[in-house]
Amino acid sequence: MMNRPEDARFEHLLHAYELGLLSDEERQEFELLLMNSEDYFQEALESEKTSQLIKYDPEIRSLIRHRAEEMEKTEAARTAAGGSLLKKRWPALVPVSIAAIIIFFLLIFKDWRVDFRPQDEVMATENLLAVMYFDNLSDPEDTDRTGEIITNLLITDLSESQYLQVVSSQRLYDILKQLGREGSRKITPDIAGQVAEKASAKWMVLGSIIKEGRQQVIVSQLIDTRSGNTIASEKITAAETESIFSLVDRLTKAIKEDIPLLVNIKGEADPQVADVTTQSPEAYRYYIEGTDLYNKFYTREALLSFEKALTYDSTFAMVHYYLAKLKDRFHIRKALQYSHKASDREKYYINALAASSEDSVPKAIHILQELTRKYPYEKEAFYNLGNYFRYEGDTRQALDCYFQSIKIDPLYKLSYNIVAYIYNSLGNFDSTLWAINKYIEIAPDEANPYDSRAEIYALNGRLDEAIQSYKKALEIKPDFYTSLSYLGIMYVYNQEYEKADSCFRILLEVENTSIRAAGKHYLVYIPTYQGRFITALKQIDSTFKADSLQQVKESGTYCYIHAFKGLIYDAIGKTSEAVEALKKALEIRERLLPRDKTLFSDIYVQMLLKIGEFQKAREITDELHKRWEDSLAAADAYWYSEAMIEYSRGNYDRAIDYLEKARQVSNSFPAGYMLARAYLEENDLEKAVDNFENLVKKYTSPRMGYCIWSLECHYYLGLAYERSNWYEKAAEQYEKYLSILNLADENILHIPEARERLKRLRNKS
């Protein structure tokens, strides 16, 4: 019986694990599952006993060997009669195969499905109520969004009940979109039935707003979705000065009393909806607009809506909550201050965010876990939990949480987005495509699904498809600057510099200072990627000068620009200047990016070692070690720094050991690059080739941030191929290297060596 999502996963991984069929990622995932579960571990131990028996029983082995010889003869005869080459190899290897199959047998009756996607598209429908958009008959255009506001307030108010699960407005919106009714506020009984069915709701509420004279009247019907019968009808007439919030309170009370079989619901406390939201209809209107935009990743627009909401009600706790997520910590204090005006479940979200902003992610996890215990259908809580677990490096738990949210709401697009990335990082491309396509299917008119798909293509070396997908995202939303930035970076990789330039220049025109700063940074990639380092340095200096003259406020992006400058200095042999630039980057980081406590510290250590500052490098590394004790996120910087110390001493084997650890934590580009180089130094050519190939395959933004090293990958990969006697491939890499650098400054990097080696290889051929 499968009780939990882990059960299915465990079932299908167990046998593959014992046969050594799992990839390293899957193996780690499986072992982590066993680490913290006594039940699973005991089950695995039971299985292990059986497979041990097969492996070590001499009689079994003798039988297998005997059988193998027989099969060998048969196979030889078949080959002689024209059998395939593949078959020739089979008999000699039969013994282990038979053993393996026998192991399979002894572990039978297990389910063997690879994916652990949610099997059922639908959750239990017990006490699930869907509130349809209220049709504003007095204003069919619903210009002031009264229908939408009443619908959302009613959902919020009914959701306060502990006896009722209410379909969220976001899900309602998504279902309507799937039915081709996006934006439709007029819900016919037929459409309502389809929505309720898709949402698996037991009941639905249909309603309309009419005017009788000067009075506003809300008419609603509670319908049993299975029979289609109307359970009850309500007509609430607004008093002349009655607010929309009070109307909704009355309607909530009436609906709760109409719901059959839920006796307890009638007696439970019913808070006023205005007390758990806002007193201002305008603030509420902007709030729902903001959350809709937020879920589409249209952050700038969402920010504007939330800020507008605050101008109507500066004490709206959930608006501060979202602003804290989008903008700065100041708002979390405000959210906490006004959290008495939030609903019960919203208080949990606010407290969790407050905890995480104080670097107490475990506390945030604990709060959200409490929330999910109290409100088990709270998909957003599971999604947020997933994000926190992911931050803590616990991919397994994160994935479980995302799937839990999908199980609650199969149309929960945000989780599909992250699941796609996680699957990709686990090397499961089929499942990655499944998740990302699902995201696109749910939200085909939004830019972010295409942006995510593009990034996934880029991570898998499919540059042209990535470019097309970024273009699609920009077609939908031309000012989706994330896609624009990445499209520019893809063009740099594709050596289409003019196109890249035009993408980045658009960013310079944007009002937002951070986006403008990013645009300036990206523009430096263009000359740097071509090896025009002098130009790049001049460009950086003139950027700083211009910003200083125009008194442009310094942003966190400057930290990245200084670090990038340091890498250019390093590439032209000016290591002392590189150290100074990195130092400056760290100084800006402390001031403007206080949450990124270890950003570039490891690269700084690397540069310090190059100028012989071993003592200082050691001190910073020890400091990183202390930070690692507080946070696993600092682990990669620590391992990387330790690795650089060993690398600088020529202890490449130990450097490899540390770099493997660093890479396991974050899989960062620098760790991968230095690891590949260390393998090359150790003359472990197979691993050097593997690692360099892997690096040049992924077209990512972080890689572009280290584009000088990215270029060098082609040279070193050529070298690794050449030493492995793969001359053709080596020549290809040298050619690629030189073609990218054909306009480069004289004799930089390994240009002369690459030319020389290419020439030699050509002569050979």
Partner: protein, 180 residues
Amino acid sequence: MTIDELYTEAKKGDLKARDELFKALLARFRYFAHQKIWDPDDAEDVVQDALIVINREYDRIDIKVSFHLWAYKVFDMRVLGYVQKKGTSRARYLRYPENESDFQEPLVKIQPEIKVKLLDCLNRILKANSRYARILNFQYQGFSTEEICEKLKVTRNNCYSILSRARSLLALCLKKGDIK
């Protein structure tokens, strides 16, 4: 109790919980090490090495979120280090002992009638579809799952499906004496 719960209790000063915690870690690490490292002495060295580190760090650091994750990482890094020095995980299969003397003593005796029945079923299944055998062959030659899929021109999911069908057929065969 889970590892994390034991850790929480142990950190509060419960010596019994601490003892239980390290026993649980030892059992798991031994199990994991055995899957990855063929040589039992080497496997034990790796396990002990990891436990020494965990024991040392245990008093020095306070893991707030996921002790089991941290402990596992300590162990896995040591396995990784071992594999790098001694060759990839594939080596385990390539170095499958060929001589009788290289095998350890079996822990349990298998029932003879099961062996006979198994081999009979195996014959039937391999005759019915050689792909089952081919997948396992490639596997024991040291090919990764991706490489096997590549060679057989099947997706990863299909590869597992084929094996799954093979196993189902074996189950059926043992029950009915035939796969039809």
